[in-house]
C-alpha cells in the first residue's frame, strides 16, 4: 500500500459533501488518518457546495448523492445528481469522488462522466476503508474508476473517440501529439482520453504496485485481450 503507481499527495484540500452527521464524522476520521496534511471543508447541502467552490478551489470533491438542496429540505438522490451535473459543467477539470450507497443512479449521467476531464471515481459506501482510500487517491490524481457503474453486457463500452485513440496508438504506433493532430484535438484532450481508456480497460494505477510496469503497455495488452484491436 505504501508504494503504488501514484504519488501520495502530502497536502490536499478536500470538500466533503454529506448531510448525514455520523457518516460525515466517520469519513473525516478516515481521511485525517490517511493524509498528513489535509484541509477538509464540509458541505451538507447542494447550495453549500457551490458557495464553497466559488470561494476557493478544492483538489477533490467527495460527494454523497443523497443530499438536500437547502438546509431543512429532504435529502434526495435527484438533488445530488443535478449537483454533480452542475459541478461537471462549471468545473470541467474538478476531481470528483462519488461516495454513495446508490451508485446505480449515476448511470443516467454516464455520458457526462465520460466527457468529464477531471478525475472521477465511484465509491460504494459499503466498500472497505482500503478501497475508499485508493479511490480517493485515484480521483485526486485525476484518474477514472467507474467500475461500479459499468454495464453487465459483454464487450467494452466506450466513446468512439477513445477507440480512435486506441487504434492510432497501438495499430499505427503514434504518439499522443500526432494522435491529437490526426483527430483534431488538443494533446491534453488525448491524455484525458487515455485516463478514460485505462478505466475502460480495467487498469487502475492506484491499485497496482509500482513494479516496473508501463501503463501504456498494460493498456495495449488489455485492449488486445478484449479484442478491441487486432
Amino acid at each position: 500500500m505504501s508504494s503504488n503507481l501514484l504519488d501520495r499527495p502530502s497536502s490536499a484540500r478536500i470538500l466533503l459533501v454529506d448531510d448525514h452527521p455520523t457518516t460525515l464524522g466517520g469519513t473525516i476520521v478516515i481521511l485525517r488518518q490517511h493524509y498528513q496534511e489535509i484541509d477538509i471543508l464540509v458541505a451538507t447541502t447542494a447550495e453549500e457546495i457551490f458557495s464553497s467552490l466559488d470561494k476557493s478551489e478544492s483538489d477533490l470533491v467527495i460527494l454523497d448523492l443523497s443530499i438536500p438542496e437547502r438546509a431543512e429540505e429532504t435529502a434526495r438522490t435527484e438533488t445530488g445528481i443535478s449537483a454533480l451535473r452542475q459541478i461537471m459543467l462549471q468545473y470541467p477539470a474538478q476531481n470528483i469522488a462519488i461516495l454513495s450507497t446508490y451508485t446505480k443512479s449515476l448511470i443516467r449521467v454516464r455520458p457526462e462522466i465520460d466527457g468529464h476531464q477531471g478525475g472521477f471515481t465511484v465509491i460504494d459506501k459499503t466498500q472497505s476503508t482500503q478501497k475508499l482510500l485508493t479511490r480517493v487517491d485515484a480521483a485526486l490524481n485525476g484518474f477514472s474508476d467507474t467500475r461500479e457503474i459499468k454495464g453487465f453486457q459483454p464487450g467494452v463500452e466506450m466513446k468512439p473517440e477513445w477507440l480512435e485513440v486506441l487504434k492510432l496508438a497501438f495499430q499505427e504506433g503514434l504518439q499522443d501529439k500526432e494522435i491529437a493532430r490526426r483527430i483534431g484535438v488538443q494533446t491534453a484532450t488525448v491524455r484525458h482520453y487515455w485516463t478514460k481508456l485505462y478505466d475502460v480497460l480495467d487498469i487502475y494505477p492506484s491499485e497496482e504496485r509500482q513494479d516496473g510496469k508501463n501503463i501504456r503497455t498494460r493498456a495495449e495488452i488489455s485492449a488486445r485481450q478484449k479484442g478491441l484491436i487486432d
Binding site: I107, R108, P111, G151, G155, E157, K159, P160, L228
Partner: protein
C-alpha cells in the same frame, strides 16, 4: 308515424313555450282586469302628440266673448245686449251655423227677450245646456222647437286620470224613452253645418246600427270595453274618441288650430269680410282661463295641457266635419277578438325569437327589430287611419317573452358549451387510453416478446441448458410483472410521463440524450445473440434540443431506438463492434445504430414495428429514416431529423 312526430313536436313546443304562454295569459288577464287601461290611454295621448302638424281648420271661427276690448273695460258677466249685438253682427256675414257656448249664468242685464227672439227666428243659432250633474238648464223661455233643435248638451265625460279624450254625440237621458234622446252641442253644430252647406244629412250607421253616419263616414261608437278601456263607467250614450287637431304649420303666427276673431275686430269690421265668416261654423264662448271651465288633455301638441270648453267644442266639431269632408281619420278600434289575437301573436313572436337566431346578440337585435316594427305599425295605423291598436299589451308580451327566452337561450347556450367541453374531455381521455394501449403493446413487444423470441430460438437451436431456460423464464416473469406495474403507474399519473424499457422505467422529462443512453444500457444488458459476441461498443450521445417535441414524440423516439438496438441483438449475428451515436450534423440530429454483423438478408423495407414507428417519426419530425447494409458488413440504421 309522421302524425306522431308532429304531435311530439307540438308537445315539445308547448312545453318549451309554457312560460311564454303563461306570460301572454297574464298580460291578457291584466288587460281584462283593467290594469293596463291607464298605460294604454297615456300611449294614445302620446301617439296624438307625436302626430304631424295640421293646417288651421278654416271651417271654424272662435269668438272669445271675454276679450278685453280697447277701452280696457272688463266685466265679470256679459250683457245680453252686447251678446245680441255680437250675434247680429255675426249673422250679418251669413255664417252656416252659430254656436253660443254660454249659459244663463254667464249673462246679465236687460235684453234676454231679444236673444230669445234671435233663437226663434234663426234656426242656425245653437246654444247649450248641461244634462249631467251639476245640471245647467237651457235658457228659460225658449220654445219647444228651439229646445229640440237648437239646444245641445255640452257635457264631456272625463277619464279616471282627469283627462278628456271622448266627446258625446248624443244620449238617451231616460232609458227606454227614445223621446228623451238629446244631441250634443258639437254634433248639432256639425249636423247643421253639413246639412246647410254640403247637403249631407245625418243617418244611422251601416256597420254599427247604433252609430251615426254622415254620407260615407260612420262615427265609431265607444263601448265601456273599447280599446284600452275596461268597464269604463263614464262611457254611455253615444260617445267617440276625440282626434285632437294637431299643431299648425310653422308658418302660421299662432299655434292654435282654429281661427280666432276678437269681438273688437268684428265690431270694427277689421277682417276679410268676403269669406271669413260666410258659410262657416262660428262658436261664441269664453277663452278666459280664469273664468271658463277648463279641461285637461295629454294629447295636445302645442305645448299646452289645458283647454277651455270653447276650444274643446271646436275640436269636437272639427273632427266630425273634417272626417266627413276631408277624410281626416276618426279614432276607431279593432273588434275585441282581433285585439287579443294581435297581443297573442306578438307574445308568440317573443317566444320564437329564441328559435329564430343563433347568437344572443342577433336574438337581441331581432327582438329590438320586432318591437320597433310593432311601434311603427301601431303609430302608423293611428296616424294614417286613426286605428288604436293594443300597443301596450302587445309590446309587454313581446318584450317580456323576448327577454325571458333570451335568458333561457343564453343559459342553454352556456349549457351546450359545457356539454361540448365534456365531450372534448371524454375524447381526450379516449385518445389517452388509445395511447396507453399502444404504449402497452410497444412495451410488451420490446420487452417480454423479445426475450421469448430469443428463448425460442435457443431452444430450437438446442443451444440452451435447462438451467438457462429457467433463468430466462424467470427474467420473462419479471419483465411481465414490471409491465403490469408500469401500466398501473401510468394510470395513476396524469401525464404518461414514463416509458418502460426492459426493467427500467424512464422519465420522459429527462433530456433525450440521457434517455437514449439509458435505453442503450438497458437494451445492451439483455441476452440477445447479437450482443454476445460484441467486443466494442462505441457510443456517444450529444445533447439535443427537444422543446418542440411532445411526450408522445419522445416516447416514439425511445421506442424506435430500443427497437433498433433489439434488431441488432436479434439479427446481427457474429457482430463484434456496435457503434451507436447521437450527433448533430449540420442542421440535423443523427441517431445511428451501426453494427458489423451479418447484414440484411433482403433490401426490401421490412414492415417491422421499428420501421413502422420510424415512418411515423419521419412525418412527425420531417425526418429521414435509413436502413441499409453497411460496408464492409453489417447494418447501418439511421434516423435523422431537423433541429430547431
Amino acid at each position: 308515424m309522421a302524425k306522431a312526430a308532429l304531435r311530439n313536436k307540438v308537445w315539445q313546443l308547448l312545453v318549451e313555450g309554457g312560460l311564454g304562454f303563461g306570460v301572454i295569459g297574464a298580460i291578457v288577464a291584466l288587460r281584462l282586469l283593467g290594469a293596463l287601461q291607464f298605460l294604454e290611454l297615456v300611449m294614445l295621448d302620446n301617439f296624438q302628440q307625436l302626430r304631424s302638424v295640421e293646417i288651421v281648420d278654416s271651417r271654424i271661427v272662435l269668438i272669445d266673448i271675454d276679450e278685453s276690448d280697447s277701452t280696457g273695460k272688463r266685466s265679470t258677466s256679459i250683457e245680453y245686449t252686447d251678446l245680441v249685438d255680437l250675434i247680429k253682427t255675426v249673422l250679418s256675414y251669413n255664417p252656416a251655423v252659430v254656436g253660443i257656448d254660454l249659459v244663463e249664468a254667464d249673462l246679465s242685464g236687460e235684453g234676454k227677450s231679444r236673444l230669445l227672439d234671435l233663437l226663434e227666428s234663426n234656426s242656425n243659432l245653437v246654444t247649450v245646456e248641461k244634462i249631467r250633474p251639476p245640471l245647467i238648464e237651457p235658457l228659460t223661455g225658449v220654445s219647444d222647437a228651439v229646445l229640440a233643435n237648437q239646444i245641445g248638451f255640452h257635457d264631456f265625460s272625463l277619464d279616471n286620470d282627469g283627462n278628456v279624450r271622448r266627446m258625446f254625440l248624443g244620449w238617451t237621458e231616460t232609458l227606454g224613452k227614445p223621446e228623451s234622446f238629446r244631441k250634443s252641442f258639437a254634433l248639432m253644430m256639425a249636423e247643421k253645418y253639413l246639412s246647410r252647406v254640403h247637403d249631407i244629412e245625418i243617418e244611422n250607421g251601416i256597420r254599427d246600427q247604433g252609430a251615426m253616419r254622415f254620407d260615407k263616414t260612420e262615427i265609431p261608437r265607444l263601448s265601456p270595453f273599447s280599446g284600452g278601456y275596461r268597464r269604463e263607467q263614464s262611457i254611455y250614450g253615444i260617445q267617440t274618441l276625440i282626434n285632437f287637431r294637431g299643431r299648425l304649420t310653422s308658418t302660421e303666427e299662432s299655434q292654435e288650430p282654429f281661427s280666432l276673431l276678437p269681438p273688437s275686430k268684428l265690431a270694427k269690421g277689421r277682417f276679410d269680410k268676403s269669406d271669413f265668416l260666410s258659410e262657416k261654423i262660428v262658436i261664441i264662448g269664453s277663452l278666459n282661463y280664469s273664468k271658463a271651465t277648463q279641461f285637461k288633455s295629454g294629447a295636445l301638441n302645442n305645448n299646452r295641457e289645458n283647454l277651455t270648453g270653447l276650444e274643446l267644442q271646436a275640436h269636437a266639431v272639427s273632427q266630425i266635419t273634417s272626417a266627413v269632408l276631408d277624410d281626416r281619420p276618426l279614432i276607431w278600434i279593432f273588434s275585441v277578438p282581433w285585439e287579443y289575437i294581435l297581443i297573442i301573436i306578438f307574445g308568440l313572436a317573443g317566444i320564437f325569437i329564441k328559435r329564430s337566431a343563433e347568437s344572443t346578440l342577433s336574438r337581441f337585435v331581432l327582438l329590438l327589430a320586432v318591437s320597433s316594427l310593432l311601434t311603427l305599425v301601431s303609430y302608423g295605423c293611428f296616424a294614417l287611419g286613426g286605428l288604436w291598436l293594443p300597443f301596450v299589451p302587445a309590446m309587454l308580451a313581446l318584450v317580456i317573452n323576448g327577454f325571458i327566452y333570451l335568458t333561457i337561450a343564453q343559459s342553454s347556450c352556456r349549457w351546450r358549451a359545457l356539454v361540448q367541453q365534456r365531450d372534448l374531455a371524454l375524447a381526450a381521455v379516449k385518445l389517452e387510453r388509445q395511447k396507453t394501449i399502444e404504449h402497452a403493446f410497444d412495451t410488451i413487444h420490446n420487452g417480454p416478446l423479445q426475450t421469448l423470441a430469443n428463448l425460442l430460438r435457443q431452444v430450437r437451436d438446442d443451444k440452451i441448458t435447462t438451467q438457462d431456460i429457467g433463468n430466462e423464464l424467470s427474467n420473462l416473469n419479471n419483465e411481465i410483472r414490471e409491465i403490469g406495474e408500469s401500466l398501473r403507474q401510468d394510470a395513476l399519473s396524469d401525464e404518461n410521463l414514463y416509458i418502460q424499457v426492459g426493467s427500467a422505467k424512464l422519465n420522459l422529462n429527462v433530456p433525450l440524450h440521457e434517455l437514449f443512453y439509458e435505453i442503450y444500457r438497458e437494451t445492451l444488458g439483455r441476452t440477445f445473440p447479437g450482443f454476445q459476441t460484441l467486443k466494442i461498443q462505441a457510443r456517444s450521445f450529444e445533447p439535443v434540443e427537444t422543446s418542440h417535441l411532445d411526450f408522445d414524440c419522445k416516447r416514439k423516439l425511445c421506442s424506435f431506438f430500443e427497437e433498433a438496438l433489439c434488431n441488432v441483438g436479434r439479427h446481427a449475428i457474429g457482430a463484434t463492434e456496435l457503434t451507436v451515436t447521437g450527433k448533430r450534423v449540420e442542421k440535423f440530429y443523427c441517431l445511428r445504430v451501426v453494427d458489423n454483423g451479418s447484414g440484411l438478408r433482403s433490401l426490401a423495407k421490412n414492415k417491422g414495428r421499428g420501421t413502422k414507428i420510424a415512418c411515423e417519426l419521419e412525418s412527425a419530425l420531417q425526418g429521414k429514416f435509413t436502413r441499409r447494409n453497411n460496408y464492409p458488413k453489417g447494418v447501418f440504421c439511421e434516423l435523422k431529423w431537423a433541429l430547431l
